[in-house]
Subunit: 326 residues, 2 copies
DNA sequence: ATGAAAGCGCTAACAT
DNA sequence: ATGTTAGCGCTTTCAT
């Protein structure tokens, strides 16, 4: 390994001078700068981030905790975050929490031990007192908390859109799939949709589900058993919606003629399944980018202008609802 | 921040003694161990990984470079890797290469600067001389190279299975979708399938595609335009296969009656789409786990028993092929 | 404009 | 069984 010492020796200067040129800080004569740079190149020297990190107590590492990277909504978030930080010379340490308290705290601690300079959390509320004590920049992503910077999509609006659009398309008996109680945004979208539906003179069924494809499969089977006359379903996310789509078709129900379905998320697969899934678009990649941008702002001590950044959502109509209805 | 000094002071011992107890190394009296542990707990002391890493020139960090976490095959790999390393107290730094030389090298360098102790690469061959020079443990995942440890699924077998199964199901004109030339496993599966098909007295069409859902959409449209009489397709991966499924249905072709489709990967969505996609199962999660296990072996200097670990693949028959044919 | 030296938090000789 | 100390590679006062 070549160190700053080697470079100093090769260039015939002190380590301090080398440090000055690699950090572009303090006075250094043009001529010596050239000599040093030559040495750096010919030795192919790269400063050791760990030593830097130790001294400055700040690394170029960002901690990212999310529930499960295998859940199709999160890769897009992660990609947005990563793309932004790559530009800025930061790197991501990633942890899957499975929404388990223990894993979250574990990651939180070890991330701190690694001098990460910032944290993005897409997982349920961590013990936030700890975060405050650690005084580390943080942004919540796809999660909301009054006291912390957060980036999220407009769940209320999303839930409302689900309800309004399905109403407009003439449903008489809608089944709403309620996601896990513990996941706030999922609850919010449910609440919003539910409230609107209740005010109407239609039948509203309710069924619980978790969020994965596999869970969706179970839910779908149960759904059609319990509510065989349901003419529409509002799903807690696209994964579950697609499972319902599948099960409906499998049972010989026509989509959207017999049953209409609206999902939530607009994951990349939703435009590719048959029939295309109508859904609420959350701009996941952009949300990831924005969260990264807000975090960098904090890291660079820029003043916080918006504590919360709310993305609008959008109804994407494909083929699982009746476009030309009336 | 509480350091080893603080603990030493609180416990009335030297830093060396504290170091001995936290590392469980060297002699330390039972009584003093207790005193020290008490101090550690009451101060809530956590050793700084960065300082450790600097001294030992080894961190608890693993570098993971993959093409694109948003591509649905990779999250499962990543999850397997992460789960394994979490158990072992290691953490993952992740980089998306987009199969770009520059990004790969960038990540490689910065990972080294961060003292990662090992590397898992799911991306196209990096400048492997560099790896050798860096003398860092490495495992290739879903990629193959004679000289480096690698974990992969049996592409030849997979390609053959695609071909054999489609043949058994009575196809007369099969279109085979060839993935990017640059991605070796994708080429291998293509080659294997193609060779078998060629020996038969049937028509074999060929079309190129990239691997994402979006690319698959284009491919699907072009496919049916160029080969309207194709009665079966062998796709380079499931994402593309699902896009073809969709387009076929959209055009009013019946699956599997008019057209049969076999994918490759068995991503989680493949069992949920309608009709269920018949495909070749690659055990992505297990492959990730295995790669992590092999890497740990190297890190711990255990002797290498197998340089390469090849997972068998399996034909999963769902509804996009004719089960009860003949 | 440059260099010497201290020190970030830790581990591992070496000494006792 | 415990303590002292050098040093991992770097940055940053403080001299000069």
């Amino acid at each position: 390994m070549t160190t700053i010492r080697d470079v100093a020796k090769a260039a015939g200067v002190s380590v301090a001078t080398v440090s000055r040129v690699i950090n572009n800080k303090g006075y250094v004569h043009e001529d010596t700068r050239k000599v040093v740079n030559n040495a750096i190149h010919s030795l192919n020297y790269k400063p050791n981030e760990v030593a830097r990190s130790l001294f400055k107590r700040k690394s170029k590492l960002i901690g990212l905790i999310l529930p499960d990277i295998a859940n199709p909504f999160f890769p897009a978030l992660a990609r947005g975050i990563e793309d932004f930080f790559y530009q800025e010379g930061y790197h991501i340490i990633i942890g899957n929490s499975d929404d388990k308290e223990e894993k979250k705290n574990d990651y939180f601690e070890t991330f701190l031990q690694n001098n990460v300079v910032g944290l993005i959390l897409s997982t349920n509320e961590i013990d936030l007192k700890r975060v405050q004590k650690a005084k580390i920049p943080i942004v919540l992503l796809d999660r909301i908390n009054e006291d912390f910077p957060a980036v999220f999509a407009d769940q209320i609006q999303g839930g409302r859109l689900q309800a309004e659009k399905i109403l407009e398309r003439g449903c008489k008996e809608v089944t709403i799939i309620k996601g896990p109680e513990t996941i706030k945004p999922v609850q919010e979208r449910f609440q919003a949709a539910f409230e609107i539906l209740q005010q109407e003179n239609i039948t509203v069924n309710m069924i619980d589900s978790k969020l994965s494809f596999q869970d969706g499969e179970q839910t779908a089977i149960e759904l059609f058993k319990r509510f065989p006359h349901s003419d529409s379903v509002l799903a807690c996310n696209d994964a579950v919606a697609i499972a319902v789509l599948n099960e409906a078709l499998r049972q010989g129900r026509r989509v959207p003629e017999d049953i209409q379905i609206i999902g939530f998320d607009n994951i990349s697969i939703s435009g590719i399944v048959y029939p295309g899934l109508s859904t609420i678009h959350q701009p996941a990649y952009e949300m990831g980018m924005k969260a990264a941008e807000m975090l960098i702002g904090q890291i660079n001590q820029e003043p916080i202008t918006h504590l919360h950044y709310k993305f609008p959502v959008e109804f994407i109509e494909r083929d699982s609802t009746r476009k030309d209805d009336d």
